[in-house]
């Protein structure tokens, strides 16, 4: 892998900072359950303050990886550091510095919201003097301040998820893990949750590590890793991933389609076609191409549309399947999250 000179120097400087620069550093992390290889040796780093997403179908190994990073599952091989601590040898330190929001709720329905948070504060050793203030803070952040003394069983699904996010932040973790934070919620609630999460990240300055199988949610991430069959098949910013698979789709409505086709072929060397009443073609950096098109096409353009490749396209390119097909074929064998196996561990 060719690396620019500057990158090498940066890495030396980072070394001086120790692991503090990286919230998460993972090297060859793998997990097998008997013959079933859930995670096949993944390697990546997540910087402090970054929002990093694991994208992939159910059963791709996302939850197993997150479970290993959260010290709930022992890796079969490989190493990982979270917040500067080893997930195997410094389990307790890792747990102090991370917040967790699981796929399924982990609240006590028979306690009030505030009691759930107090329970958490005690378990995580939040200094007694700061518990009340911190509790009020996080409840305020997720918009539940007025429901602090209500029993959790009276909460809606979205409120419970917000309460869990508040609880995950209560002990001021440096990394907040969100395993499918919006699964099972309606679109309105999902978008609310994301508003809260984005705002919280801004206010708390923490690293977010999340898994999702919703393509649109991956767009909230600074970087995403696409996981399939226990391996990371691609890792980059959403923009770069989309750019990497090629060209934008441009659709034109013109005053003379035939002339437009000819002009595109002549002046730009583009092989366009007419579909559904529009002249359509693919081109790299479509938005930058539009001004040239207006200047040089010589045919009247009545409307234009540039469509970016979506993360769906990205997933398709790297795995050969759509994420929905992947979900369907992965079947139920891994449906139970490894978190469920954590009952004794």
């Amino acid at each position: 892998m060719s690396q620019p000179e500057g990158a090498g120097r940066t890495s030396i400087q980072l070394e001086g900072l120790g692991a503090g620069q990286h919230s998460i550093a993972v090297d060859g992390l793998a997990k097998s359950y008997g013959d079933l290889v859930a995670v096949k040796g993944v390697t990546f780093v997540v910087d402090a303050g970054e929002t990093f997403g694991f994208l992939g179908p159910n059963g791709a190994g996302k939850s197993t990886t997150i479970s290993m990073l959260c010290t709930l599952v022992d890796p079969t091989s490989g190493r990982a550091q979270v917040a500067g601590f080893d997930v195997v040898t410094q389990r307790s330190s890792v747990r102090q510095h991370i917040g967790l929001v699981f796929q399924d709720t982990t609240l006590d329905d028979y306690l009030t919201a505030a009691e759930n948070l107090k329970f958490h504060a005690e378990l995580y050793g939040v200094p007694r003097g700061t518990v009340a203030r911190r509790l009020a803070d996080v409840m305020e952040m997720v918009g539940l301040a007025d429901r602090a003394d209500s029993l959790v069983r009276t909460f809606s699904g979205g409120m419970k998820r917000r309460l869990e996010i508040a609880r995950g932040l209560l002990h001021s973790p440096r990394v907040l893990f969100l395993d499918e934070p919006t699964v099972g919620l309606d679109p309105q609630t999902r978008s609310n949750i994301w508003e809260y999460v984005t705002e919280l990240k801004r206010r708390e300055g923490i690293t977010l590590f999340l898994t999702t199988h919703y393509m649109d949610e991956a767009e909230y991430c600074d970087r995403i890793a696409i996981m399939d069959h226990g391996s990371i098949v691609a890792i980059d910013t959403p923009e770069a991933l989309k750019a990497s698979i090629g060209e934008d789709r441009v659709e034109l409505h013109t005053t003379d389609d035939a002339a437009a086709l000819a002009a595109l072929a002549d002046r730009f060397g583009i092989d366009a076609s007419v579909s559904e009443g529009a002249v359509a073609f693919h081109v790299a950096a479509g938005e930058q191409f539009v001004p040239r098109l207006f200047a040089e096409l010589g045919v009247g353009i009545t409307s234009i549309r540039v469509a970016r490749p979506t993360l769906d396209d990205v997933f398709m390119t790297y795995t050969g399947r759509t994420i929905r097909d992947a979900e369907a074929s992965s079947g139920d064998r891994l449906r139970s999250s490894p978190f469920m196996r954590a009952r004794r561990g």
């Binding site: 692991a19 390697t43 709930l72 378990l123 890792i235 009952r343």
Partner: protein, 338 residues
């Protein structure tokens, strides 16, 4: 370009956990992406720290949490215990319903059997059953409290506890103490009925009984927690009740005297660990009642090994040791990791 990067990631040429990172810039992300990702990094690291050694534990924002010390574990024990009490006090229906069964046994079954069993001695059979029924209350309350771990697992709350930065032993101990406290309270409520079955409210007896109830409650909760560590489905709770708890109850001498049993049944009552928790209760109660030696031998035979009657203190010590061993095993069970 990106597929190359994916390859790189997959084959492990990127960073080691010691923090020898390969910066993303090096793998070809476009400039716009670099700045988008780079900005938060700068924001999260205080400028003063750049270039200087930063300890791994340095917190970026907010409160620092401690962990792993004795006082942290004590806080954990206390809050897990407190949760049991909050849940118990909030569930008044449970408090009432769990007293219905012992009261039925005591006043309906006890009264019904009295004419047959008391004979010409005018002995109130309910008095005999009283310590047994207290034992029953403690047994069912303790097991029910402990088995709520299975519910916690089903509804996810167990994970909230297990991922906390405290020793699992603190969680298990808190749970056991919580269940024991709840069961002791229920036992004490039953104890209040002493006057209704002809047992005087002797202060010393009450103190002894409360102590014995608390010990039995703790041991039985630990037993329940140990079982719960192996149970992953709520449905299995029914099985446990039928296969373990009811036999324990029936064989303990709680509802019938063990003095004139056929050999096979006598052996089973001696194997039943609950016998050793119920007998001290009965002795404490019977110490307050004037009985003919014949009746006392019939109704209060104690637990005998090869004709030797075990002293109360030995029985209590056995219960305590059993509780300790089971607690140890339960902690091991909950400390395992996948």
């Amino acid at each position: 370009m990106v597929s190359d990067q994916g390859q790189q990631v997959g084959t492990g040429s990127a960073p080691t956990p010691e923090g020898r990172p390969v910066p993303r810039e090096g793998s070809g992300a476009p400039p716009v992406a670099t700045s988008a990702v780079g900005a938060p990094v700068v924001a999260a690291a205080p400028p003063a720290a750049v270039g200087a050694p930063v300890t791994a534990a340095a917190s970026v924002v907010g409160v620092r949490v401690a962990g792993g010390t004795v006082s942290d574990d004590l806080r954990a024990i206390r809050v897990v215990w407190k949760r049991e009490l909050i849940r118990f006090s909030r569930n008044r229906i449970r408090i009432v319903t769990s007293l219905v069964q012992p009261i039925l046994f005591l006043f309906v079954l006890g009264t019904g059997l009295s004419p047959i069993l008391s004979g010409s001695d005018h002995f109130n059979f309910r008095t005999f059953m009283f310590p047994g029924v207290i034992g029953m209350t403690v047994l069912f309350t303790a097991i029910f409290s402990a088995i709520s771990i299975v519910w916690d697992r089903e509804f996810g709350f167990l994970r909230e506890m297990l991922v906390a930065p405290v020793h699992r032993s603190a969680l298990v101990l808190g749970k056991c103490l919580g269940g024991a406290t709840v069961a002791t309270i229920q036992g004490a409520i039953m104890l209040a009925l002493a006057g209704a079955v002809g047992v005087p409210y002797d202060p010393l007896m009450l103190v002894v009984l409360i102590g014995e109830i608390a010990l039995a409650a703790f041991a039985l909760t630990v037993f329940g927690v140990l079982m719960a560590s192996r149970i992953s489905q709520i449905e299995a709770f029914q099985v446990v009740t039928q296969m373990v708890v009811l036999p324990m109850f029936f064989l303990s001498g709680a509802i019938f005297p063990t003095s004139k049993l056929p050999q096979w049944l006598a052996v089973l009552t001696k194997i039943d660990p609950l016998s050793y928790a119920v007998d001290p209760l009965r002795r404490a109660v019977f110490s307050q009642i004037a009985l003919s030696p014949r009746l006392n031998a019939l109704l209060n035979p104690g637990v005998t090994w090869n004709g030797w009657r075990l002293p109360t203190l030995l029985e209590l010590a056995m219960v305590a040791v059993a509780a300790g061993v089971m607690l140890f095993v339960a902690i091991l069970q909950f400390s395992r990791t996948d």
